[in-house]
């Protein structure tokens, strides 16, 4: 399977803090690929590098074979990289419908004069977007009952769903989801898992997500990369990752103090 996104030897540090060290992994096309790891492992930093907020000191990110260095976030959006945020980043002053329509911004062309007159091409374009959003996104994510509501009035789970809808309106090729089910109840999690699988299957979109809910990660992922202390410990199929001793150690910790000290300080000699 060809990879749509390839991370090669990526390093990012903030002063003395090494957020990412020599991170390499690949995201095969049309898969659900998950990055897991304990808090502070560098998962969100990795996402921010891919969306263009952080500039890594070393390494490259290849998207569809093209190196993304120096490409600004709005251009990456137009290239088909969409994402949602860990802490919901919806526009609180707008309705659900307007939030979703904003996702289509990069695919629209109307200029200021057309907008002022709301006539001709500008109007037709708005109608086409409305139709696409209604028929393909609102319907698909089952949020038709809230489309007129201001997002600030919605529950957490629904806000997450609206954020997903907005990302889908960008017609992405790679959809990056930062903790899509954090803070959701069981039913909402099941819905979200179903949506993610459908997005991959029906829309042919590659999903790259960060998530802590292990049962969901193991159930829906095709490919998993494990990050700890800014480094990739292992990557592979869910079943392979699940039984990897290093992963278990990273997640459950270890009773062996020496190995922990050694991890924090590589020069530490076992006494």
């Amino acid at each position: 399977m060809s990879s749509i996104l390839e991370i090669n030897n990526l390093s990012l540090s903030f002063g003395g803090v090494k957020a990412l060290q020599d991170v390499s992994f690949r995201v095969p096309e049309n898969t659900v690929t998950t990055v897991i790891g304990p808090n502070g492992a560098g998962k969100t930093s990795l996402f921010n590098c891919i969306s263009g907020f952080y500039t890594p000191q070393q390494g490259t990110i290849r998207y569809q074979g093209e190196v993304l260095a120096g490409v600004k976030p709005p251009v990456r959006a137009a290239m088909g990289l969409a994402r949602t945020f860990q802490n919901i980043a919806l526009f609180r002053g707008m309705t659900v419908l307007d939030n979703i329509k904003l996702g289509a911004h990069v695919h629209m062309k109307s200029g200021l004069l057309g907008s002022l007159a709301y006539f001709g091409a500008a109007r037709r374009e708005e109608m086409a977007v409305r139709q696409h959003v209604e028929q393909h996104i609102i319907d698909f994510l089952e949020i038709d009952h809230i489309r007129r509501k201001p997002v600030a009035s919605l529950s957490y789970g629904l806000q997450k769903r609206v954020e997903l809808a907005r990302a889908l309106a960008m017609r992405p090729k790679v959809l990056m989801l930062d903790e899509p089910v954090a803070g959701m109840n069981r039913e909402e999690k099941e819905d979200m898992a179903r949506f993610i699988l459908d997005i991959r299957e029906e829309w042919g979109v590659t999903v790259l997500m960060v998530e802590h809910d292990m049962s969901m990660v193991m159930d829906i992922s095709d490919h998993i990369a494990v990050l700890n202390f800014g480094q990739v410990i292992t990557e592979g199929l869910p079943s392979e990752v699940q039984n990897n001793p290093e992963v278990i150690e990273a997640y459950l910790g270890t009773s062996d103090m020496d190995s922990l000290r050694k991890k924090l300080n590589p020069e530490y000699e076992v006494a």
């Binding site: 137009a78 919806l90 904003l102 907008s115 002022l116 007159a117 409305r130 907005r166």
Partner: protein
């Protein structure tokens, strides 16, 4: 109670006025605006024109501050650019009135873009200070560039001509100012039905995620500045034709604060709020004056007592609005509408 307004097409659903009740009231309102000059006395006409100009300028500032979240204290300066542009053009060229007005808007927009350049880096109070500096700078130019602006004495204009008519009285100016105000508010409303308006609001609410959605922040911030100062420039041009004189003191800093207050009192990020705020800020001092006059027969000392109080009462009203109605006059309007749309049932 509003019933039976289910929509059959997206087009109908996205219309500005969706119910027939709304359309009827709108028609009544427009008709009232059209016949107003035939019944109003000269004082009311004068106030009507002032409100019209204030509505245009407030709508412009609302686009920038209310919708895009960029605080500006430069509005009076931009209006000044518009005012001086029409004054200079009407004295030195034979360009027709609509063209001078358009050029006034465009030049003000160009100045607005320049002033807006720091907005990519600075926000909030810092941007307010940057625009304040720009407005002081513009004021300096108006006062000192004597060969163009006439220095402290300013410029006097001939009345405008339109379709062979001379726009000399307030009555004639009313029929230029008010239709233009209606058109420009409508155009602003249109912007917020399209991707550009949404991009403005996105920048106000969360600029980082706006960027992720592919919105070029600098471009849209500058576009908002340009649009806002275009409105200010046109308002300033009308202002110049209305008073037929522009001096540096026609566009003082307090005017910028006046418009900022109008946006806040009316309701930030709400076009109707901008209209109500502009009317409120223009008319309340006059209403207070009338009140003083009405009190005089009963309390002969009323003018002596009231005239220093007017500013205080005016200020207290604004503070009162901020505390009790932070979403502005527009919110009061929406409450009234909700009440009637559900009447006779309780909301």
């Amino acid at each position: 109670m509003r019933i039976g307004d289910a929509k059959q097409s997206y087009e109908a659903d996205e219309a500005i006025w969706t119910s027939s009740t709304q359309k009827i009231w709108l028609a009544i309102f427009l008709l009232a605006l059209a016949v107003f000059p035939f019944f109003a006395d000269s004082y009311l006409l004068y106030m009507g024109c002032l409100v019209g100009i204030a509505v245009i300028s407030t709508t412009g500032l609302n686009i920038l501050t209310g919708f895009t979240g960029l605080i500006s204290l430069g509005q009076a300066g931009f209006m000044g650019v518009g005012g001086y542009t029409v004054a200079w053009l009407s004295l030195n060229t034979a360009l027709p009135f609509p063209v001078t007005l358009l050029l006034a808007g465009l030049l003000a927009a160009a100045v607005g873009i320049l002033v807006g350049l720091p907005s990519l880096r600075v926000k909030g109070l810092y941007l307010a200070i940057a625009t304040l500096a720009a407005s002081v700078f513009l004021h300096f130019i108006f006062a000192q560039w004597e060969s163009v602006t006439g220095g402290m004495g300013g410029l006097s204009l001939e009345p405008a001509h339109l379709f062979g008519l001379t726009l000399q009285s307030d009555f004639e100016m009313y029929f230029v100012i008010v239709p233009l105000a209606v058109l420009m508010v409508l155009a602003a409303k249109n912007v917020f039905r399209t991707r550009i308006g949404r991009a403005f609001i996105a920048i106000r609410d969360r600029d980082i995620s706006a960027e992720i959605l592919g919105i070029n922040l600098l471009r849209y911030k500058l576009m908002s500045f340009a649009l806002s100062s275009f409105y200010a420039g046109v308002a300033g041009g009308l202002f110049a034709y209305f008073y037929r004189v522009v001096t540096p003191e026609s566009f003082p800093l307090s005017m910028s604060i006046f418009y900022l207050a109008a946006v806040i009192v009316g309701g930030m990020g709400n076009l109707l709020g901008g209209i109500l705020g502009a009317a409120f800020m223009t008319l309340i001092p006059e209403v207070l004056n009338l009140l003083t006059a009405a009190l005089t027969p009963f309390y002969p000392n009323a003018p002596i007592f009231m005239s220093p109080m007017l500013e205080i009462i005016f200020g207290a009203l604004i503070v009162g609005f901020l505390i009790f109605e932070p979403h502005g006059l527009a919110e009061i309007w929406h409450r009234i509408r909700r009440f009637f749309s559900l009447w006779p049932f309780r909301n």
